[in-house]
């Protein structure tokens, strides 16, 4: 077949710099029609910048982009959309307006189009919206407000609206990062249909399971350039990851910690209304992974232990003494630390530099008579920067200048500055590339002695990588427990999807 004819979008020699920082150093990329091209790359490789150039947010400094054979140089995001490149961004709430109903969300472009009438005909709007929804095989009530819908449905709506513009190229930036496995499968089915319609899809993801499921081709980016293109009947995933990292991926080999003294005990704690109470013990020196789908009670568990949610039943003990924190401050004072998920919302202080961000919980120990010792803060931050391999100029860098993976390292380092009794890490690998994930995982395991570490992850791969013991939650109850050395991924998956729980109930 003649690739040139089927190529929807061609990027050649694309250059982009921010100040001294050359982010794109001559990127060449072809995006053929009816194929899903997966773009892989470590944080800071330039993926996001490439996407932002394609969708009109940034302007290229050099090189060329052609769309359907014609030159493509959008003035702004709206122009890129009008020309046929539609992007669904990582943060879903950028794509929908929560307070409006589904119909208005789907038809938003029609409302803003030039020549749109002054009054809105709700019935006609809903009729048109139903057609769009039906063409995407979306089964939703178009009169419902989007704020009542789950993450997956919101994403579907964002994509459906994008598709209503009949794009030639659809860009999906880490679309599954907040979806559960079943929700992700719905998204993949949708992508399959789009592929069938001849749309070129550029799909950015770190998740191997996603990539195995939908990739027709894989493009690996490293350091602002394309490091490898992988296509054909059988895709060489390992080579793709190697190209992206610049070195081969070494298998993790966890030596399971020998179970020792219990530190945190949960006795008969109810995680979700109506679920049976849960008993759980975390031991000194152990890394315990809690996994399960969205809504399985993982977050509830983390919040209860950190004092953000009050106990309805049961009790907790910490080092044998009663433990019932009323807020985060009390939990931290007892040596229970939580690195929350969704760092942008819950953890990063955007106005601060690395040093202030990292030392934020422990400012008291960096100050005398309340006066901060910034030299001591910087020294502590520098030590962590070295330990975790945070890529930056120094502790005085603004946190927002770091890539996502490095920001996450700073957020983890924040809670490693001082010894803890229980360290809770909620989705520590969210939006983090494999390289940074390894660095973080290694350091967590290396420092795990003396405390109990509980890691909350929804990806089984991540749990396998870091844990001595894995507890699977399903609908607020413990569905299974697995020990390192005897991890059977298949059994884990069965627990996660609740097969055993359902069978037991039947």
């Amino acid at each position: 077949m003649d690739r040139d004819d089927s190529c929807v979008c061609r990027v050649s020699g694309l250059e982009k710099s921010f100040g001294k920082n050359r982010v794109l150093k001559g990127v060449d990329l072809d995006l053929p029609a009816g194929q899903v091209t997966v773009l892989m790359g470590a944080n800071g490789a330039g993926k996001s910048t490439l996407v932002k150039v394609l969708c009109g947010v940034h302007h290229a400094d050099g090189g060329a982009v052609t769309l359907g054979g014609a030159d493509f140089a959008p003035v702004d995001a709206a122009d890129a959309i009008a020309q046929g490149i539609v992007t669904v961004h990582q943060s879903i709430d950028d794509g929908v307006i929560p307070d409006l109903d589904v119909a208005s969300n789907l038809m938003l472009d029609r409302l803003t189009a030039p020549g749109a009438g002054f009054f809105v005909n709700d019935r006609a709007l809903r009729r048109a919206a139903r057609q769009v929804a039906a063409s995407m095989q979306l089964d939703v009530d178009v009169t419902r407000p989007v704020s009542e819908m789950g993450v997956a449905d919101r994403q579907m709506i964002a994509i459906a609206r994008a598709m209503a513009r009949a794009p030639r190229l659809l860009i999906l930036d880490e679309p599954t990062s907040s979806l559960s496995a079943t929700e992700a499968e719905r998204l993949f089915a949708l992508i399959d249909r789009l592929r069938g319609q001849g749309v070129a899809v550029l799909y950015i993801s770190h998740r191997m399971s996603d990539i195995r499921r939908i990739a027709d081709r894989i493009v690996s980016m490293r350091d602002g350039q394309v490091a490898g293109v992988f296509e054909g009947e059988v895709l060489d995933y390992e080579a793709a990851v190697t190209a992206m990292l610049g070195h081969a991926m070494s298998d993790v080999d966890n030596t399971p910690a020998i179970a020792s003294a219990p530190i945190l005990r949960l006795n008969g704690v109810r995680l979700l209304p109506g679920a049976a109470p849960v008993d759980l013990t975390a031991h000194a020196g152990e890394v315990l992974a809690i996994t399960g789908l969205l809504g399985s009670g993982k977050s509830a568990l983390a919040e209860i232990v950190f004092g953000l949610r009050s106990l309805t039943t049961g009790n907790m003990t910490l080092d044998g003494a009663g433990y019932a924190p009323r807020d985060a401050g009390e939990a931290v004072a007892r040596g229970v630390f939580l690195s929350p998920k969704d760092r942008g919302r819950n953890a990063v202080v955007p106005d601060f530099d690395i040093s202030d961000n990292m030392t934020l919980p422990f400012l008291k120990s960096f100050s005398r008579l309340s006066l901060l010792g910034s030299a001591r803060q910087a020294k502590a931050a520098n030590r962590m920067i070295g330990d975790l391999g945070i890529v930056c100029q120094g502790p005085g860098d603004a946190i927002t200048t770091l890539s996502g993976g490095n920001q996450q390292k700073v957020m983890i380092a924040r809670w490693l500055l001082q010894p803890s009794r229980v360290l809770l890490l909620d989705e520590p690998f969210q939006g983090v590339d494999i390289g940074a994930r390894r660095d973080i995982g290694r350091h967590i395991r290396a420092t795990a002695g003396g405390r109990a570490t509980i890691v909350f992850v929804s990806e089984i791969d991540e749990a396998l990588e870091i844990a001595d013991r894995i507890v699977v939650l399903y609908e607020g109850q413990v569905a299974g427990e697995h020990r390192a050395g005897a991890f059977y991924p298949a059994a884990l998956v069965a627990d996660v999807t609740g097969k055993i729980a359902d069978e037991a109930a039947a």
């Binding site: 910048t49 006066l371 901060l372």
Partner: protein, 340 residues
């Protein structure tokens, strides 16, 4: 590369542009306006901005935690009326009058903070309501009249009390400093407050946590910060400093003038916002606020000495404010918009 040198110029402009402009103004007025360059004139500038500056430093604290305090002007005028009421009508000593005003400021700040933190009223609305309430409240005890010695209290009784000399000293005394009777007390208090607020916000852990709350409240709460307490403290600082401003105003005027202090709110908010542009901070800061207040003072002093009519003053302040805001938000968004 062209782009990077452009960026450097913009960065320099953001950092030092405002201070350079201030210096330029001083040099310009020194040549253009006869008598502008001199210690007495300089002290006059400081004196003209001392009270608004103190209020502005208070509102800076609320801006730091991501809030806003619209009630400062009315707290100041309430303190003005309260001190006059204490001394002229109740015939209490100056110390009691001052303490009563400070306590009133702290109480108003506490109520503002509780409205915002506990009752979840948005900051602008809570403090707007408080402003309204105080403007009304300060008129009730005197049936809407100004307070001065000898005023009629009804039934033929006349107010016998006076502003004590100790109280008036606060507003009128001048210390010798090289020249005789050069520096007025309010200027000293302004400088002390400015340094104290700067130290508190920039150098202490409490200040750092308040900035963290302003930047990402959830993140601050999730590291165990008592967000509610810090917010309430910020509004209490604002209330107390506003009452300090009101006390100094009363001491300068020597009477409880119901019509004074109309411009206090706008002037002090302007100073705090102009402060965003100083040193390219793009966020509330005590040093910037003090410089912002001085900037306005110097500009008005210079223009007045060049015979600009008084009614152009608000216009000039508005121009400076808008320019400073553009400077802060447009330029810094250009230099910071480099995130990947």
């Amino acid at each position: 590369m062209n782009g990077s040198s452009d960026n450097r110029v913009i960065e320099l402009a953001i950092r030092y542009g405002f201070l350079a402009l201030l210096l330029g103004l001083v040099v310009f007025f020194s040549f253009a306006a006869n008598g502008f360059a001199g210690p007495r004139s300089a002290v006059f500038v400081f004196q003209s901005v001392a009270i608004t500056g103190i209020l502005a430093l208070g509102v800076t604290c609320t801006l730091v935690v991501g809030g806003f305090d619209l009630s400062i002007g009315s707290v100041a005028t309430s303190a003005l009326m309260l001190s006059a009421y204490c001394m002229v009508i109740l015939e209490l000593p100056a110390v009691v009058a001052v303490l009563a005003c400070l306590a009133m400021g702290a109480l108003v700040g506490l109520v503002n903070g509780l409205l915002i933190v506990k009752f979840k009223v948005p900051d602008l609305l809570a403090t707007l309501g408080m402003m309204f309430l105080l403007i009304g409240l300060q008129r009730i005890p005197t049936q809407g009249n100004s307070i001065a010695t000898g005023m009629s209290l009804g039934d033929g009784v006349v107010a016998e009390g006076t502003f004590s000399p100790a109280f008036l000293w606060l507003g009128r005394n001048r210390f010798d400093f090289f020249l005789e009777r050069l520096i007025p007390v309010p200027v000293i208090i302004f400088l002390i407050v400015a340094v104290a607020v700067w130290v508190f916000l920039a150098l202490t852990r409490h200040g750092r946590l308040m900035y963290a709350i302003g930047s990402n409240e959830r993140a601050a709460a999730l590291v165990g910060t008592n967000v509610a307490r810090y917010k309430i403290v910020a509004y209490m600082i604002s209330g107390v400093l506003a009452s300090v401003g009101g006390i100094l105003l009363a001491a300068r005027l020597g009477r409880g003038d119901i019509a004074s202090g109309n411009n206090l709110l706008l002037d002090s908010v302007a100073a705090a916002l102009i402060g965003f542009a100083v040193l390219g901070a793009a966020r509330p800061n005590a040093f910037g606020t003090a410089i912002g207040a001085l900037f306005v003072g110097i500009l008005l002093q210079g223009l007045t000495m060049m015979n600009a009519p008084y009614y152009t003053q608000d216009f000039v302040k508005g121009v400076v404010l808008v320019a400073a805001l553009v400077f802060t938000f447009y330029l810094s968004s250009r230099s910071r918009g480099t995130g990947r």
